[in-house]
């Protein structure tokens, strides 16, 4: 069975990856990358956060946006899952709620590429009823 991929195959692609990273301007300066965190607690997962995260990783690469997409725990906005936090280089974090694949696409095209705000932003000063 030669089809099975092994770690030896990974070593082969390693050099290509290294070269690709080297060619990127900002690879060694994470603060210049777009940083996205996807809320992945029970409520996020149950409402499709994994699909959104996969979409973001794949599409940002295809559209040549240097970004780091990671997962995080609960941001406390269970009513608006899936939620994502986007930090554009040098800017304050913005949290978007109810992000499905379609809205993720809009966030990439409008907010990440052009800095235009789109619907569904959860204000940072939002407090849960309990805290009031």
């Amino acid at each position: 069975m030669t089809k099975i991929k092994s770690l030896a195959d990974l070593r082969k692609i390693k050099d290509d990856v290294q070269e690709k990273i080297r060619l990127r301007e900002n690879a060694d300066q994470p603060e210049k990358l777009v940083q996205i965190k996807v809320g992945m607690a029970t409520s996020g997962i149950a409402s499709g956060a994994k699909e959104v995260m996969n979409f973001l990783i794949e599409e940002l690469e295809k559209r040549n946006v240097d970004a780091v997409v990671t997962q995080t725990g609960d941001m406390g906005y269970c009513f608006a899952e899936p939620t994502i936090e986007v930090i554009l280089p040098g800017q304050e974090p913005v949290v978007f709620g109810n992000v499905n694949v379609k809205r993720a696409d809009e966030i990439i095209e409008k907010y990440i590429k052009n800095g235009e705000l789109v619907d569904g932003i959860i204000p940072r000063n939002y407090e849960t009823i309990d805290n009031k």
């Binding site: 990974l10 692609i13 994994k50 996969n54 725990g73 849960t128």
Partner: protein, 182 residues
């Protein structure tokens, strides 16, 4: 949760919150014995004795952001409705093990779903944590060890999308080889 892999993605977050550095995920398919096991073990801080009985209560959580914790109760419910069980063992300072048995031939047993995507997602998101995923079937076993992956990459960033893509394909093909129940 409709898929077992989503349950895994969910409860592994508990291990991460508990400060685990090594998380082992094992799936054991025993078709002849009509059993399907999911075992998640971590080396996190553990759960105090008085909390162990409470973790399956949906209205108990260690979080302060909200008052419900549904991850484990949902998994327990899914295991029990197939005629299986849910068991949690924890030693403070050593770690926690969650064991679930599902009945293999049961309509309610959740399908495994996108397990390769979940394992790759965890490995690439939590680069400081190591994951060992072992899957046994009657056709053999497959072991994925993130420490081996990191060694093979030799310093190249594991978060690169092409590495993630590779890992998904690698896990997928190896799981197909041992004919896992999809």
């Amino acid at each position: 949760m409709k898929e077992l892999s989503l349950h895994i993605l969910d409860i592994v977050n508990n291990s991460i919150t508990a400060g685990a550095s090594l998380i082992q995920i094992t799936i054991r398919e025993e078709e002849e014995a009509n059993s399907y096991f999911l075992i998640v073990t971590d080396n996190g801080k553990g759960i105090p004795m008085e909390m162990v009985d409470k973790v399956i209560d949906p209205f108990v959580t260690s979080r302060s952001t909200r008052k419900v914790g549904l991850g484990l109760p949902l998994l327990k419910q899914n295991a029990e409705r197939t005629g299986g069980y849910f068991h949690l063992e924890s030693v403070v300072g050593e770690g926690t093990t969650v064991t679930c048995r599902f009945e293999f031939r049961n309509f309610d047993r959740p399908a495994i779903g996108d397990i390769s995507g979940v394992i790759a997602m965890l490995t690439c998101s939590f680069t400081d944590i190591d994951f060992i995923y072992t899957h046994f079937t009657s056709h053999g076993e497959y072991v994925f060890d993130s420490r081996e992956v990191k060694a093979a990459l030799d310093g190249v960033s594991i978060t690169d999308p092409s590495v993630r893509k590779f890992l998904i394909e690698m896990i997928d093909e190896n799981l197909t080889e041992i004919k896992i129940n999809r």
